[in-house]
């Protein structure tokens, strides 16, 4: 088949190849090379631009920068972990315990908020939690609070918001894998006298690891790169690193500094994903499928 029409195959190949190559190079490869270049560029005293390490030096010199950076990284890992811990029982319930009929309904229920923009979900929380919000009004009415409390703008609320907005991205991949887990395996383990924790540790978790990894990567990326939730729900004196990038890019108009920050964030995210994949011995290509 292939030998009979080598000519035509080449043509169709070229037609398919050009737009894809344009997309990948013009919008992915070159912009990131430019980002890297900009991050090493600085303007010297006379207004000439040249190679410099200044932008990165600034990051390590100013504690506020690297503290925000570390805070963002640690919180992202923390949020990913919490999301994972909550998602496992939820997915287990949906795939194994819930009745077949309600399964589809539950899946749709889980999926729909995924389509609603993050902003609106955060806004919902703001309405509920703020000083004049629904929960405060309710608690005042039934007499638990004497005065309204501000429940927004602290780290706990922010973590909760992040967990909430990214939960679905963990649940969906895990459901995908957990569905194919044979119930007989679990039952067999029960019959052989295994405890619940043992079953989770030895059977379920190893089986769904690919789902856990792809979910974790997506959640981690989303949390690390999120801007809205930390900005709108987090404390006023505690920045998220993306806000730092936004500030230097748009407010101070220091693009070189912003590029350096951006590159650091990119480096961090790639590094953590790389380490996570190595530790669990998963293949990146398998995971993102």
């Amino acid at each position: 088949m292939k030998n009979s029409k080598p000519h035509k195959i080449r043509w169709s190949f070229i037609i398919f190849f050009i737009p894809v190559a344009l997309w990948l190079f013009l919008l992915i490869v070159f912009p990131h090379l430019e980002l890297l270049k900009m991050s090493f560029t600085g303007t010297d005293f006379y207004g000439k631009s040249g190679f410099t390490l200044e932008n990165y030096g600034e990051f390590f010199k100013e504690p506020i920068y690297w503290r925000t950076f570390a805070r963002t990284a640690l919180y992202s890992i923390f949020v990913t972990f919490i999301v994972l811990v909550i998602s496992l029982p939820v997915t287990f319930y949906i795939t194994k315990i819930a009745k077949i009929k309600s399964q589809g309904f539950l899946t749709i229920l889980v999926l729909i908020p995924f389509w609603v923009s993050e902003l609106i979900r955060v806004y919902g929380w703001i309405i509920l939690l703020r000083e004049s919000g629904v929960i405060n009004k309710f608690l005042l009415k039934i007499g638990i609070f004497k005065v309204p409390h501000e429940m927004l703008y602290n780290d706990i609320t922010m973590v909760m918001g992040l967990v909430y907005t990214s939960m679905l991205f963990m649940i969906v991949p895990i459901i995908g894998v957990m569905e194919s887990l044979d119930d007989a395996l679990i039952e067999a383990a029960y019959d052989l006298g295994a405890k619940k924790t043992t079953i989770w540790r030895k059977i379920i978790i190893p089986y769904v690891t690919p789902g856990i990894m792809s979910g974790s990567i997506i959640v981690f990326m989303l949390v690390l790169g999120s801007y809205l939730t930390p900005k709108l729900m987090g404390g006023k004196n505690a920045l998220w690193f993306t806000e730092q990038i936004y500030n230097s890019m748009i407010i101070y108009f220091n693009w070189n500094q912003g590029a350096a920050f951006g590159f650091l964030l990119l480096l961090l995210s790639s590094l953590i994903i790389f380490v996570a994949l190595k530790v669990t011995r998963q293949d990146f290509k398998e995971v993102v499928k």
Partner: protein, 253 residues
């Protein structure tokens, strides 16, 4: 937990009952939104962006799916990795690097050739490019998933019956792919419509709806936002449910 999800489907429910001012505030404001110029304009901008993005990304996504599933070439693995890369690049970074790059290219054209490349300045086209750059990955993956299951003997049968390449593509392969192409277009539309992070750095004067809403939420909210949120949720739910029932049950990411 499921109740919490349920909660977000209709965020209007909890306060609708509890506080009356919101309830009364909503009535007139729901009409009010249609007189609200800045919000209306941003909705319109968002739709224009989303249409362009979903058309472009579906087209290129289909091509990429063919490329990775049916063609063989040097560095295919490397390209495949590149194609997946946007999944692990935070949207904010994608936004700034595209901003920096287009700015550099724009300057180059202006300095060397004296051309004023308007569309490279922050604005409509940059937003389209920015969203296109990562949404195409999603559309490619959605369409590839279906193309993988395609039985290529069907194509060969058609060739043997005397069909030419274009006819085969049109009547056999594309017909087979249609559900996934429609699904991918719908996903692309929704993703584009709600994207915030990448768009944030690329918008010019015409803001998209999420950006405009964000500015309003940040500077103090009014019930108009509730009205918009309600409309948006209804709209996206309809599209999403239609998409789910449309046979495209398996959603990527």
């Amino acid at each position: 937990m499921i109740l919490a999800f349920n909660n977000s489907m209709f965020p209007s429910l909890p306060w609708k009952g509890f506080t009356l001012d919101w309830f009364f505030g909503r009535g007139p404001d729901k009409i009010g939104i249609f007189h609200d110029d800045s919000n209306l304009r941003s909705i319109f901008t968002s739709i224009r962006v989303a249409v362009a993005v979903s058309a472009l990304s579906t087209l290129v996504g289909t091509m990429a799916a063919f490329l990775f599933e049916h063609e063989d070439f040097k560095f295919k693995q490397a390209f495949y990795f590149l194609m997946l890369a946007p999944l692990v690049i935070p949207g904010v970074i994608l936004g700034i690097s595209i901003l920096l790059f287009t700015n550099a290219v724009g300057l180059f054209f202006e300095d060397k050739l004296g051309l004023d490349m308007r569309f490279l300045a922050p604005g409509y086209w940059l937003v389209v490019f920015g969203q296109f750059s990562f949404i195409t990955t999603i559309t490619t993956m959605t369409i590839s998933a279906r193309l993988k299951k395609f039985d290529r003997t069907l194509e060969e049968a058609a060739y043997n019956l005397g069909a030419n390449k274009l006819e085969v593509l049109r009547f056999i392969t594309l017909k087979y792919l249609r559900p996934s192409i429609v699904g991918a277009a719908a996903i692309a539309f929704l993703m584009s419509f709600e994207n915030f992070n990448t768009t944030l750095f690329l918008v010019g004067s015409d803001q998209t709806l999420p950006i405009n809403l964000y500015l309003q939420v940040r500077d103090g909210s009014t019930p108009v936002i509730n009205a918009i949120a309600f409309i948006l949720i209804t709209f996206t739910s309809i599209v999403a449910v239609a998409n789910l029932y449309g046979g495209n049950k398996k959603n990527q990411t």
